[in-house]
Symmetry: none
Subunit: 225 residues, 4 copies
DNA sequence: AATGAATGAGAATTCATTCAT
DNA sequence: TATGAATGAATTCTCATTCAT
């Protein structure tokens, strides 16, 4: 792993062209999945010949992986821009939720691509991409969770790693719920056909859920009763 | 939707054969995904001719769907057997978590199949399956959540539907983390390479997280500070 | 090596069909060489679909190899039928030469196929086929050379193995000269544009050459002078 | 035929570059054969652009042919340098055999190229190249055979042309046996796995074979018995 | 009911050659 | 002269599906 996934010719190519190729690839892959995406179609839609496509990429898989990496990078930037200001933890959570709700069509393709690798089973690739992708959000969350703990915004009887895991799991699921067809329907089954008309409600409920999970220790529970 | 996904011949066939065909299908589909599964291979492994396979099923997709329904049914039975006794909510949660951790090879194939439909995008099918599959757990959770609320085991300022959604999201993610390669790696990134050696810790942390989320209302928070 | 080069389906196929497929293959491969032969064309000319072709053979190369083996077998039968009677060595040589001259169109395709493997460079395959093919003629020649030596028809100061090698080299070259375009022209360059009109002359000259090579020892040379 | 096989631009090019291009071509063609050689790779390895390559040569085939001619020329020089001194015929034969045994890596590429045209079937080209290539050795051999006959070193009942043909056939086969993979294995089948460790034996046996073939007439045979 | 031979459209990939710069 | 980006026809191989028996 950790190789380059395009040939030098692609790096030399005009940036606009690179962008077109990757975006076209992301389109196809997110619409049809890896297997059903047709690289000849991608070439045609990107306005280049199939021969040139193969001058740029060794295989269909390499193109897919580069599209994926592009998607990761852009998603990452979204997260970073959301998290950059120095907010309290619940404010950050709220910002993330709202960012997810405003996921544009462009970003939703990235999420679909992400959902696509979820099925990969090649051991090395899976490990490589899991670390690459999940590492980003893990570090982002781990950072502010630790600070929150120090500052007393979060109870101290929790294991930050697990906490980050549960936190991310909820956000990831929400992310899918706003982008992938199946998860959308699942969301509706649970929360009603009109969830998507009621973003505020979603924010509120999730924050409520998180807040108490963040705040209370076992000790508090005993105290309270 | 809501059509039958096999021809009459399959219903007339010997139950043992039906079982073999479906289990073989589940094997292949969960191993290779829908696209890469080969129906001719499934027929061979099931010990019947490809011709007969097409006497049983209109298309490869129909076979897949029937395998999926079989998987759903069996998964459902697992959930029901776990939830049948009349436990308090946290005990139920614990039982579910432990059931997920003990997911056998057989069941893990079902989970992979489930992960597979997650990518479907045919509108009608997606709706049909989301309702079918998610409806099961939704009703299961909704039922006991409501009771828990009535009995005061759960705070009363929450919307049960959302609550069930967050609850299921955490369990679903955990389920994937114990079965699908990518999610396994993600789990390790967050919680350490040895998470899979430490089932108790996982149970404990998740219960801790859930308990406070279940228990405390906003009012409590104000009281506490 | 030493694997089977066709799938079971080919063995089950109708013998007439098998024959057609192999002969069509031999045609194409001998006309265009391995690289330029087109397996889709072979299928079409053999009157079967390309799909079926791949039910019969794993790869284009496997088909080629089976064609080759078929050719070897048939060539071998020609040699054996020529050599079966119990002749003196020069009579055998003469029969072989005449057989080569009468090489039919059918057999000439086999020779071209043989010339084709001559360029192979995959170590294992080369060894396997060299042993398989050359072993046949080697054993055929070695057998009767040994007998000839014992019976005094051939001088005793020679190493039979080398002798067989030189003998076969001359016959092989002659074989090519009667079948492969380039070697035909080479033959004409050396022996005149009309060599092919004068089979008797060829027989006579080669026998003359062989006879003295067979007959005289170094001792004889000294005696003579 | 007898056209030029490069464009004027190639003739105007720097001699060092010409040399590089041809040697690189010879490398590729002898390693992979005509079909599998990649002209874009040849250009890259020769350090020029593919565009320039096509300024130099009309087609891939033309490049091949020029490489071939270069190879012929160099092989020819080897033969000539071996044959230039005024030796008796068996001494010449010995020198040729030893030259073949010492074929360097460079020359072996020429031989492989030669083996490659052996499969050509375009009538005109075949004739042209057969005459060009075989003419060289034919004239070389014919010349000294004639002299040998006049001087009584060779029996007089033979047809020099056929004699030259048989002589060259033996040497050509030996040449292939020292360079082409398949023929190497064939050599081992006939003469033992260790032939290549025993050059002297090879020289001796072939000379023995040739000597008697050269020396004795039918008349001698009758005399002797 | 059951077989499995047969089909052929479709997809990934290669590479000789062209052409704008 | 020199470049190398660009082309696209051609080829191998796969597999869902059909159909004669």
């Amino acid at each position: 792993m950790e190789q380059k996934h395009c040939k030098p010719a692609f790096e030399r190519a005009d940036p606009a062209r690179r962008e077109t190729v990757l975006q076209t690839g992301i389109n196809e892959f997110s619409q049809h999945g890896f297997e059903n995406a047709n690289i000849n179609v991608i070439a045609k839609n990107a306005g280049i010949s199939i021969g040139l496509m193969y001058k740029y990429f060794e295989t269909k898989e390499d193109l897919f992986i580069l599209c994926l990496e592009q998607a990761i990078e852009e998603l990452n930037q979204v997260i970073e821009s959301v998290l950059q200001s120095d907010d309290k933890i619940l404010v950050r959570a709220e910002k993330l939720i709202r960012a997810i709700q405003q996921t544009s069509g462009k970003e939703s393709r990235y999420v679909k691509l992400y959902n696509e690798i979820t099925k990969m089973s090649d051991e090395d690739k899976v490990r490589y991409y899991a670390e690459k992708i999940e590492g980003i959000s893990y570090r982002a969350y781990a950072g502010f969770l630790e600070r929150a703990k120090e500052e007393g915004d979060v109870r101290d009887d929790l294991d930050e790693r697990f906490f980050a895991f549960f936190f991310d799991s909820l956000l990831m699921t929400l992310q899918f719920s706003y982008t992938c067809d199946y998860y959308r329907e699942r969301f509706k089954v649970y929360c009603g056909d009109d969830v998507f008309d009621n973003d505020e409600k979603v924010v509120e409920e999730l924050l409520k859920f998180l807040e108490s999970a963040f705040t209370f220790s076992r000790g508090d529970i005993q105290k309270l009763h």
